[in-house]
Symmetry: C2
Subunit: 503 residues, 2 copies
Amino acid sequence: MASQTLASHVANHADSQDKLYKQVALRISELIEHGTLRPGDRLPSVRQLSEQESVSLSTVTQAYRRLEDQGLIEARPQSGYYVRARIWSAPPEPGLSHPGRSATRVSVNELVMEVLRHTHDPSLLAFGAASPGPELLPTDQLMRTMASVGRRHSREWNGCSIPPGNLYLRTQIARRALESGCLLAPEEIVITCGCQEAVNLCLRAVAKPGDTIAIESPTYYGILQIIESLGMKVCEIPTFPREGVCLDELASRLDRCRIKACVFVPNFSNPLGSCMPDEKKERLVNLLAERQIPLIEDDLYGTLSHAPRRPKTAKAFDKQGLVLLCDSFSKTLAPGMRIGWTAPGRFKDKVEHLKFIASIGTATLPQMAIAEFLASGGYDHHLRKLRRIYAEQMQLATQAITRYFPEGTKVTRPTGSYVLWVELPPFIDSLDLFHRALAEKISLAPGHIFSPTQNYQNCIRLSCGHLWSEAMEKGLWRLGKIMGQMERESRGRARVESRPAAS
Amino acid sequence: MASQTLASHVANHADSQDKLYKQVALRISELIEHGTLRPGDRLPSVRQLSEQESVSLSTVTQAYRRLEDQGLIEARPQSGYYVRARIWSAPPEPGLSHPGRSATRVSVNELVMEVLRHTHDPSLLAFGAASPGPELLPTDQLMRTMASVGRRHSREWNGCSIPPGNLYLRTQIARRALESGCLLAPEEIVITCGCQEAVNLCLRAVAKPGDTIAIESPTYYGILQIIESLGMKVCEIPTFPREGVCLDELASRLDRCRIKACVFVPNFSNPLGSCMPDEKKERLVNLLAERQIPLIEDDLYGTLSHAPRRPKTAKAFDKQGLVLLCDSFSKTLAPGMRIGWTAPGRFKDKVEHLKFIASIGTATLPQMAIAEFLASGGYDHHLRKLRRIYAEQMQLATQAITRYFPEGTKVTRPTGSYVLWVELPPFIDSLDLFHRALAEKISLAPGHIFSPTQNYQNCIRLSCGHLWSEAMEKGLWRLGKIMGQMERESRGRARVESRPAAS
């Protein structure tokens, strides 16, 4: 690319001549983004660039004007164009969600499975699966811990670990729970095969087929699938992208519907990234306690706060044992180990029985290795690094979205975790986008799978769990290009439809 | 013990003077069993033993007569008593089971959990849990394999392995399935968290809450728990201790009840140890195929045949994809790894979806390590050793039961696996026995938990998965003593009840 002229690069990619200035602008914004051009640097003059890159003067002028509009460069009188110091201003955030009001039978299963087959394909650009990149995990260190544990406890590690699971691990988890405001004893914790099994068991402990479960809207498709597979119904609660479920709406639904339990992700929800303020969590817990309704709290992303201190869990405010806290190490440490846990309050015995029935126990050595890794302090060190990295690369991803995605795009501003929820202009069907992106080896999660009522057809979830790279930057640029094409097609259709029909 | 005289030993243990001769006989039978007295050896004369051990002549005479009745010694005219060459003749086998005929709601859960808490306590003599002894497993070898795989595939092992699971492992499993008569492709296999998860998923794939499932009687309590937890009902099919379910009875129940699926363990069932002959398996598969009823086949113990060749699976005869074969490596190789699998025939897609929903994936490194261990030939070598050991120690256990358990005891003669099903005289309540044994640090599985209708209150399952030892021999001797005490108490109660009531 370095040896190519800007024009040849642009000519290779531009779809039509009248969009050439946009491509010129895009290329310059990339140079700015990558630091080749720094804030305060002077850009080539219009004539200079026109000659150098073999494009017309007006193309360069249009390109510079576009960059000026985007706030990336500024014209200084009698002097020329300069890179602005404050180069970036993100698109607006999405608003409160507006799901339907009635209880719904779930059926996202088929679509989710289709999406999944692709999101876990390692040959694709990994915006699809909400997984940490392997390059960010202390995998070799974990392997050494595992080998060391295996040597020292050679009989124990290959024995079955029946519920509630390894005591040393439960002790370490109880210690760490203090950070989230929870006073838990190891006896209150049950180890599970990841957070997904934990949520399954908790839901089965508190509700039966036919019952209605309140969920955030949009919500993680895995939760929808669990509810669907258990023959339960959902009631979607409107949710703020910053503060989580709307409590007034929740209260009103609780009064009108027979809601048996809630499954919420108060900290850095998936896909919204919303984080309910701690005082709001307390109100939520009290609201449910008054009605004796259990809350299954999925805290999978709670430790991935971008701030140095993680937020509290709702469980921290639970006085009646009605909050069933679920968590795992899959998003931060060891996706391959499938070690999760739950502190199911007053439902502990039932959950423990159900765990035995579902899968007898959880793999023993991974439990022992994670316990040792936690006890050694290695986990804290790793988390600090991970939080810093994710805070940075969420910004990079948002900047790229700002530059490349069509006008009218909205994007969330999560303060933790690594997923962005992007609301696209209404002409984008995200399932169509998903398939076109696949053809260009890019994975993403279409909005359809985050609601049983197909409310989010123009939304996508972009996961930024892998270490940021030029390839990812380019991937978002290509997504932008695909959406540009979709926009043109949509306009074309609109023109055809607006023609008077032949008589 | 060696320095004690027989009399002092007996005095310490005998509960009443009139049972002294039994204790003398028991002690001599132990000397025979342990090889101190060998076939053909002459026993001390009655007078000699009486003087030596400070017991009466009549006590010794009674003891020798008892041993003669048991076939352990013989009197040779003018010469005295000798140890017989054929020292052992096992008690009779239990007969065909006679469960009730109607569909039953299951509720063994609470009792099973109580039993479980004890059966996995490593401080107890391990007759309770059907697990292989850690000393019999190639644990260090597995650890080395794991470390080697971890080094060579450092990114892959810590990544999530979504369903259907690791391809290399599925390939190895497909190869091994040939031995059981199955032509399986890796694509037909789904990896699970042990066989328990596999049976769960398969049952959920073929039946709904409220449906009736046919099971063997008695059957493994884990299967009962799954059915209970899913809100299904069971229909218990009479089962032969040697040949498995009675097909005539099964056919008649299928005609009369709406049976949605069967969950059977055709090879070395748990707890009966029955092994259905291959031609009977074929008839079973055809019988069900005619009615389009799925068979969930749990083959957990199939590889543990005491003969050099393992029996076929029912799946080997499945032409319609109606057999859902479930298996794992927990009983033979790695109880701590929780790696199982299923080949669910025409229900494969549904099972694969349900697996994702239940627990996303199965731990990755254990899958890779077992695949490598299988590919290296290490598993075959290990299995040959294990089969030989279990064949031997099942005999030792049966011999000990013969010697120590009360008259009227019946015991199965499995040709594979390591569990014995013991039918005790009617005065033994096995739950009472379970609690008394616990007090003496011995675990066992009471018959109550193997049926939802409490049909097996005088039965116990004894697992001989751990390497045979003197402690286990003594454990069975102590169980015999406890049952002797229960017999006396039962007679005492009978005397009290038969007294005329005071007027």
